[in-house]
Amino acid sequence: MINKKTCAAALVAFTFSMPAVAEEPMNDLEIAHTAYTAGQIDIRYAHLALALSQNEDVRAFAATMVRDHTAVNDAAGALITELNVTPQDNALSQALVKGAGEKVEELTGLRGKAFDCAYATNELGYHQVVNQTVEGKFIPNTTVEPLKDLLTDALATFKQHEKHAENMVSGLKCS
């Protein structure tokens, strides 16, 4: 069974590690919920960057995150409507939301280069972890073919984001 306390603790201990919560693999509806949630979280980070950063590269990256994750989640929404199913909230989604809330709070207090570096580093770590999870767990465990296809397309997009974030971090010359 899923232990919420453990996964929240894991998130605090390792900022970028996706908490290893479930003994049994997540089902399609849980995977759909968590994938959608992960996208919404990155959109939230991006809006914060657009509000707080003055750096052109950071702002361009954030605008791309809003644009791409919105496109992926719109496609997910259309699929969910078509299949007439309801995604299931789950411990991993909840842990992600909680972790994101804390990260947003931290980022909100920063300005200038400190903000840019914290945002960029978090984007890199976040995409790395999400990509590992989508590739290693979500796609292999998905049984509904159109959802698997969507996750595969989404992964291709998120991998580009990871590369883009890597370039952003090195361009900012943080620490």
Binding site: R67, A71, A154, A156, Q160
Partner: protein
Amino acid sequence: MLVKRTYTRRQAGALLGAGFAALFLSGAPRAGEAPRTHKIDIRKFKFAPAALIIKAGDSVEWTNHDIAPHTATDEEGDWDTGTLSRSQSATLTFKTPGTYSYFCAFHPQMTATLTVEA
């Protein structure tokens, strides 16, 4: 530069027709050879073909097959397809010879070249 955003096949045909008409009226086509429309696919964050050689007066139609929106944007800022969502196309006509490096304005790691020969 003629910029035609195309959303449906029927619209694409109409716009393409309009493009050729405009080209004809402007007197641009070369003697003896009709202008062509070349296709470039944007798939998995790549332009394919990534290098294309065309003749002045030809057109290029970019089609995005990814979920993520893309653009084809000239590095010098001379031309731009604008945002292409999934399944959208845009056609541009090239009259000025030269080698154009272009990229996706949203994903700058996506790059390609277009050579326009006289």
